[in-house]
């Protein structure tokens, strides 16, 4: 008898818990106030992070401050996302680890970093590009971070001005924009043995991603050092690289005088902004588009992203007040929404 009662209780518990699970499945517990939205990071100062819900109905500026009642420091360079965590990279030498959905602070990585720029992840390891002393061309490195202890466990010396980092399988790709100077290489680090190869591209490589064809695509804005005597100017380009042998598949150069600084990628198309014109080219095209998709309105376009047929652009305006995030319908070019975001807003992430 006892057994039967026991099994009934157990069964009912099971049923109960199952139905409970079903409920949870159909209506998931929200992971935090900042889930299902757009995060915009602003360099500052003061640096800050803004949140805008996917349906644009909820907006909140200074998210990190509101949750943690402290500031991130200057200047917020970028944010990396790994699992349910976000890693906020600040130039002054700290990475703040937060829960990406609640923005509650979980920890900091602040030793072993000098002037960190970008972070990328490979399992429980992260790779952080660091300029070290920006005036010293020879001390730049990639910091290898153990994410379980949030500490820098080793460094890999690289060429001057490492910027964006991207992890693909057991390789880390680093674009060397050159810091305060100009550089023209992509570092390829083998994470298994920390060996290093470099690929030469046009001057000032910055944005990089892997396209749907599996090629590494790099935007180099070209040098434009008009303060030198004589001035130095080189061509900008979009370079596609074969990941198997690091060879260059195509190098599409811009005409003289054109130095695009903003590029993003979405679903088979590369988008870039040049003189407030939006251009796109597909993975297979090997020449630059001759016409714009449409023109955006901005005083100083400073960040861009594309998702679900919408273009997001930040306008830093005068660089000393709030920036504006403007959303455009990608097919029609019409402006659908705009929001006040932080000072010198530079990066747009989808959470």
């Amino acid at each position: 008898m006892k057994k039967i009662i026991y099994s009934i209780v157990t069964l009912s518990l099971l049923v109960f818990s199952c139905s409970n699970d079903d409920d949870a499945f159909t209506q998931p517990e929200p992971l935090g106030a900042y889930e299902n939205g757009i995060l915009v990071s602003a360099e500052g100062g003061p640096s800050s992070i803004s949140y805008i819900s996917n349906d644009f109905s909820v907006t909140e500026n200074q998210v990190y401050f509101n949750v943690n009642n402290e500031n991130l420091g200057v200047y917020l360079q970028s944010i990396g996302f790994n699992g349910d965590k976000a890693y906020v990279v600040v130039d002054a030498g700290t990475i703040t680890v937060v829960n990406r959905y609640t923005f509650e602070k979980l920890g900091t990585i602040d030793t072993g970093l000098t002037l960190p720029r970008y972070i990328a992840f490979n399992g429980t390891t992260a790779y952080v590009s660091d300029w070290a002393d920006p005036y010293d061309a020879t001390d730049d490195y990639i910091a290898v971070v153990d994410l379980t202890s949030n500490s820098v466990i080793s460094t890999i010396a690289v060429a001057e001005g490492p910027e964006q980092v991207l992890v693909n399988e057991d390789k880390v790709y680093v674009s060397h924009k050159g810091g305060y100077s100009v550089n023209n290489v992509i570092s390829v680090i083998n994470t298994l043995d920390s060996s290093l190869e470099t690929i030469t591209v046009n001057d000032s490589p910055d944005e990089l991603f892997i396209d749907n064809q599996g090629h590494l695509t790099v935007l180099s804005s070209g040098a434009n050092q008009y303060w030198l005597t004589p001035p130095v100017e080189t061509l900008a380009s979009i370079t596609r690289i074969d990941l198997n042998d690091n060879s260059i598949i195509s190098n599409i150069e811009f005409p003289e005088g054109q130095h695009p600084g903003l590029m993003t990628y979405n679903d088979g198309n590369t988008y870039y902004i040049l003189n407030n014109g939006l251009y796109s080219l597909s993975d297979t095209e090997t020449s630059l588009p001759t016409t714009t998709l449409f023109d955006i309105t901005a005083t100083s376009a400073y960040g861009m992203a594309v998702k679900s047929n919408l273009l997001y652009v930040t306008d830093a305006v005068d660089f000393s007040g709030n920036s504006i995030l403007t959303v455009y319908d990608l097919s029609t070019g019409t402006e659908t929404n705009s929001f006040d975001v932080g000072v010198i807003a530079s990066k747009i992430y989808f959470n």
């Binding site: 100062g45 003061p46 800050s48 500026n61 200074q62 401050f65 402290e70 500031n71 991130l72 420091g73 200057v74 600040v90 002054a92 030498g93 700290t94 602040d110 000098t114 002037l115 002393d133 920006p134 005036y135 010293d136 001390d139 305060y180 100077s181 000032s204 804005s221 040098a223 434009n224 050092q225 008009y226 303060w227 030198l228 005597t229 130095h259 600084g261 003189n275 100083s300 400073y302 830093a316 005068d318 660089f319 000393s320 007040g321 709030n322 932080g342 000072v343």
Partner: protein, 616 residues
């Protein structure tokens, strides 16, 4: 006290209050004793305020504090003792000129003077001249100018002055001044050393001001010798060697360090005759800094500028009413640095000043200046000023001028981003002042309007590098009130002095108030003395400032107003013939208020300073 007031009047209304013969002797003395005589002779229509010994000696902290508490100038200080930049009448730091014994010492690199690299212990008087002064003082004298003067006095005397200070945060200050003079020869020497851990607690937080320690040594030597009855040769020298850690913000720590060495040497020949005076100066100035991003590393960036300067000032008295002055000035600047190569610049300028004093109640000045510069063309500058005595107690001062600020080496040559196509910033201004003077009470009210164009602003260019451009236009207008009251009742002496300023400074494109310009700033000092005892209380009110250009309020957009008070008491332990020993105690930030004058950089909590001051 009365001496101060007398001096103030003398400065403000140079000619009016004295009969002509007296004036000659006063001017003669000034010519001999002070290097910057234009400040007295050619500034009748300008507001000029003198901070003399008694005010200077009350200030046991830095130059920034002296001016914060005793003038209309507003300061941005990156934490106590760190880089300190002034804003005068709503203008920026490179629009305030600092003049040392008549020559402009603003950095050729960033156009500014860091007020925490100036030590006033070895300075005899600090003079604040409100309003445009580019005709006489060159680039940067837009909002106003601050003058540091050394005095050589040719009377028989030997005075020594030793100060020992010890204060909170392990702050130590030692100062020695020796001043000697006789009929033909005068000499003074000043040595000062400051050292502080500067690790004050951030109120309402568990943090302290880390990486904020500093020390500096300054040396002043001035000599004067009459080679004939009418000719005197003078030598001025000032050296400053400083080492500062640059503290971080409340959010991010810092490991950086800054070392600087500035030296200024000037040789001057003054020849004074019945109808004319000639003054010839040659000077060599050196500014040098090393910046360590990481103080534990050997790697640093540096910058240096050597300035060679020759200046001839010739003043000729055409009649009792009219005098003319010509100034020829040649400057050669040679720079070298990690971030701007080896630029050179030379500036030649010619200036004409006409002073016309048709009656004792009317002083008029007309001044023009033209520069010829190697890098860019400079505008023709002018100024006109008038002092009108309405009644015995009431005078009106009027001036209008065109002034400029030339692009700095950083603006032109900085790598990356320097812009060789910049032109000087230029500004027009008008100033109307009223002076009420009842001997025991002085009240000055000034209203002004400044319009500046081609303002140089740094913003990212298409390549993402910050680069300067002549883009902004701004205007500022406002009012300044200065009140001084002194009263003596038996042995009790009171002195009250106060400044208030209302400042609107707007970007003309957006019509928004510029960042870090408070609408309201006020300060007051009440000093009391009775026999051997003296005390003073200082209060500073600094209104809200915006920290971003949107003119929004809140922790991300503005800094709250603050009130800070200091209290000092002094007692003369010994007063015997020529020996005087005084013990002083000063409490800074008496009410332990948390405040910031630059965002995320708190200023010190309540702190104490003990001073032993021996004069013999």
């Amino acid at each position: 006290m009365k001496k101060t007031i007398g001096l103030l009047i003398a400065v403000c209304c140079s000619v009016v209050s004295f009969a002509q013969t007296q004036l000659d002797s006063v001017q003669y003395l000034d010519v001999i004793e002070l290097s910057d005589i234009k400040l007295k002779q050619n500034a009748a229509g300008f507001k000029v305020t003198v901070l003399n010994d008694s005010v200077l000696s009350k200030n046991t902290s830095n130059f920034t504090d002296l001016l914060r508490f005793n003038s209309n100038i507003y300061f941005k200080e990156n934490g106590y003792g760190m880089v300190s930049s002034p804003s005068f009448r709503g203008t920026n730091a490179s629009q305030t000129a600092v003049i040392w014994n008549g020559i402009n010492i603003n950095s050729q690199l960033n156009g500014q003077t860091d007020f925490n690299t100036i030590n006033t212990n070895n300075i005899n008087q600090v003079v604040i001249r409100n309003g445009g002064g580019s005709v006489q003082y060159g680039s940067g004298a837009i909002g106003g100018s601050v003058h540091l003067d050394n005095r050589l006095s040719f009377t028989q005397h030997l005075k020594n002055d030793v100060k020992l200070n010890y204060g909170s945060f392990e702050s130590k200050n030692f100062s020695l001044i020796t001043d000697y003079g006789q009929d033909k020869f005068a000499f003074n020497l000043g040595v000062n050393y400051i050292d502080s851990d500067n690790d004050y607690k951030y109120l309402d937080s568990d943090k302290i001001n880390e990486n904020g320690a500093f020390n500096n040594l300054s040396l002043n030597v001035n000599l004067g010798y009459f080679i004939s009855e009418k000719d005197v040769i003078k030598l001025y020298h000032q050296s400053f060697i400083g080492e500062r850690e640059f503290s971080g913000t409340t959010a991010t720590p810092s490991k950086s360090k800054y070392e600087d060495e500035n030296s200024r040497s000037m040789l001057e020949w003054v020849s004074t005759h019945q109808n004319y005076k000639s003054n010839f100066k040659v000077a060599y100035l050196k500014e040098y800094f090393e910046f360590y991003q990481n103080k534990n590393s050997e790697f640093f960036t540096f910058g240096q500028v050597n300035t060679f300067l020759a200046k001839h000032n010739f003043n000729y008295k055409l009649s009792k009413q009219v005098s003319v002055t010509s100034i020829l000035d040649y400057n050669l600047f040679k720079g070298e640095g990690s971030s701007f190569g080896n630029p050179e610049r030379s500036i030649f300028s010619a200036t004409g000043l006409l002073q016309y004093n048709p009656s004792t109640n009317l002083n008029l000045g007309f001044n023009v200046r033209q520069d010829v510069t190697s890098d860019f063309s400079s505008p023709l500058l002018f100024s006109m000023d008038a002092l009108i005595g309405i009644t015995k107690f009431y005078k009106v001062k009027i001036n209008g001028s065109k002034n400029y600020r030339i692009p700095t080496f950083n603006d032109l040559f900085w790598q990356p981003g320097g812009n060789l196509h910049l032109v000087p910033e230029s500004s027009y201004q008008f100033d109307l002042g009223h002076v009420l003077d009842f001997n025991w009470l002085q009240l000055q009210l000034n209203t002004y309007y400044i319009k500046s164009q081609d303002l140089i602003q740094w913003k990212p260019n298409i390549s993402g590098f910050w680069s300067p451009q002549n883009i902004a236009e701004a205007h500022s207008y406002g009012a300044e009130v200065e009140l001084t009251i002194s009263k003596k009742v038996n042995n009790h002496q009171f002195r009250f002095s106060s400044n208030y300023s209302y400042t609107v400074s707007e970007n003309l494109e957006t019509n928004k108030q510029l960042i870090y310009v408070p609408f309201h700033k006020a300060n007051a000092t009440l000093a009391y003395s009775f026999k051997r005892f003296s005390a003073h209380y200082q209060q500073l009110f600094n209104g809200d400032v915006f920290t971003t250009s949107d003119n929004l309020k809140g922790p991300f957009y503005s800094l709250q107003s603050y009130n800070v008070a200091n209290l000092g008491v002094n007692y003369k332990l010994l007063q015997h013939f020529n020996h005087e020993l005084e013990l002083g105690l000063k409490v800074n930030n008496l009410f332990n208020k948390l405040y910031q004058n630059v965002a995320f950089r708190p200023m010190p909590n309540r702190n104490f300073n003990i001073q032993l001051h021996y004069k013999f």
